[in-house]
């Protein structure tokens, strides 16, 4: 404590001297990355002028939205307002950011927000040119539900309306995409729904990959819980979907056409649109950043955090976005005070449910290495393959606690 008091004292002098110039930070995007960054900035430096630009008054969280599809949760449990962000002293503008002009963000209303540092946290957009036949209109018949909200509700209603004995067809994209274990958690929880409510139905997951996150854990669980109900078709067995046709509800691979009663197309993705408009996305559609402060490699006065950014070994997850946002806030406060940001350590933990009382995890610890966030060797990894049911139940319980904790920290 004495050390702490001394350090606060030592810090106070330069901070007061620079009180007139603490700066303006504008954040685009009010999800796990943007809202966390906004609130952390105000907690670290109350004198900062922090603005958050987010058109949607209600944020619908993707983590646990697969449980909504499985009938285990309601969509309202996924929804959060920006009230807690405003209570923290952040100015919230309910508009869409459409461009960046010098040190100014331009909104769809024509309003302009000047910044000293800009944080882009736009999450993902669907890459509408990435899968032939898959358009915004097609998504109303074959939902992606990869941005939670109306799409999640639509897919759940379709599952509820389907006759027992129907075929559900899902497709998963090639890497990289939001939430690497997400398609496999989803297929698990839809399988749980079918097993309990429509046991004559079948579920096929067509995959553009041969390997995926927590693969052995998922496959062991599927063999135990959903035998004969769920089929995973990898790339090497012709799993890659090359086009879809919403008119006859088919998903085509190079080898076959799959006609679905309910189709869930998880399409190719890219960084949210503002990233390209701001000039921080590269040809991959994602945003390269340096790994200490998450400043864009293309425009260093802009930070990019969360799913839109290329974060080396860190996956695109809500946990990662929240962790990156806190590091980014610290780096911004340092930059504005003329200090170099401190090298960070970051953690990610992704919980997945394969059934209501059956959770599995993957975790990692990361630090900047050769210009990228890299795994710290020897740390991280997945739940043990041979764990007893009590272990799976404990991870499922912790998953729920994690969701309540991270949403409380993010949205207040």
């Amino acid at each position: 404590m004495q050390v702490g008091a001394a350090m606060v004292g030592a810090l106070a002098a330069p901070r007061i001297a620079s009180a007139q110039a603490v700066g303006r930070v504008v954040i685009v995007g009010g999800g796990f990355a943007g809202a966390t960054c906004a609130r952390t900035l105000k907690a670290l430096e109350p004198k900062l002028a922090v603005s958050l630009i987010e058109p949607d008054p209600v944020f619908t969280a993707c983590p646990f939205s697969n449980a909504v599809l499985g009938g285990l949760r309601e969509i309202a449990q996924q929804q959060f307002t920006q009230d807690g962000v405003e209570r923290a002293g952040v100015t919230v503008a309910r508009r869409r950011a459409v461009g960046v002009d010098g040190k100014t963000v331009v909104l769809d209303s024509g309003a302009r927000f000047q910044f000293d540092r800009l944080v882009l946290a736009p999450g993902i957009d669907i890459n509408w040119s990435g899968l032939p036949g898959y358009t915004e209109a097609a998504a109303e018949k074959m939902p992606h539900a990869w941005k939670a909200g109306g799409q999640t509700v639509l897919l759940r209603r379709q599952l509820e309306a389907m006759d027992d004995g129907g075929l559900v067809v899902m497709s998963a994209p090639a890497n990289p995409f939001r939430c690497p274990p997400g398609p496999y958690e989803r297929v698990s929880l839809i399988a749980h729904y079918l097993k309990t409510k429509k046991p004559k139905s079948k579920l096929v997951l067509l995959d553009a990959k041969d390997a995926f996150s927590k693969q052995r854990l998922f496959q062991d669980a599927w063999a135990k819980l959903y035998p004969g109900l769920l089929e995973w078709v990898p790339l090497s067995k012709g799993g890659k979907v090359v086009s879809v046709d919403p008119a006859d509800m088919t998903l085509a691979t190079d080898f076959a056409k799959h006609k679905a009663a309910v189709a869930n197309v998880i399409p190719p993705q890219r960084a949210g649109r503002i990233a390209e408009a701001a000039g921080v996305a590269d040809r991959s559609g994602w945003c390269p950043v340096e790994p200490v402060s998450f400043e864009s490699r293309l425009r260093p006065d802009i930070h990019v955090i969360g799913d839109a950014a290329i974060m080396g070994a860190m996956p695109k997850s809500a946990f990662s976005a929240n962790a990156q946002a806190k590091v980014c806030a610290v780096a911004i406060v340092a930059r504005l005070a003329g200090r170099e940001p401190v090298e960070p350590r970051l953690i990610n933990t992704c919980y997945s449910l394969v059934a209501p009382d059956y959770g599995i995890t993957i975790a990692g610890v990361y630090k900047p290495t050769n210009g990228q966030l890299a795994d710290i060797p020897g740390a991280g990894g997945v739940s043990p393959l041979d764990a007893p049911q009590e272990f799976r139940a404990r991870e499922a319980l912790y998953a729920e606690g994690w969701f309540r904790t991270i949403t409380a920290e993010t949205f207040g």
Partner: protein, 101 residues
């Protein structure tokens, strides 16, 4: 008051890192922990809180987790990412924190 104290201590942690020439031994990695370990009051979770717990208790738990003791779930995997001095810095930092309102 509590809020001011929390901010002060947080800044202490950060400025501590800066004052020691961006030392990787600083408690910087602590900020990720609050994704799982609640710092706001009233959060219903089975995951233990860390703020205000004795530093020796937190450090002992981390070292046990590294060895696979205490039957951890994810913490066995996460603790292995931290060195001994990092664990001590984290533990001291959490011991000095108080929950946010």
């Amino acid at each position: 008051m509590r809020r001011g104290r929390w901010i002060g201590l947080l800044l202490m942690g950060l400025s501590g890192g800066a004052a020691h020439a961006a030392s990787p031994d600083g408690p910087f990695g602590a900020m990720s922990c609050s994704g799982c370990h609640a710092t706001a009051r009233g959060v219903d979770t089975a995951i233990p809180r860390l703020n205000g717990r004795p530093a020796a208790e937190i450090a002992a738990a981390m070292r046990d987790f590294q060895k696979g003791e205490r039957a951890p779930t994810v913490m066995g995997r996460i603790a292995k990412g931290y060195t001994d001095p990092e664990i001590d810095a984290l533990a001291a930092w959490f011991a000095a924190q108080r929950d946010a309102p």
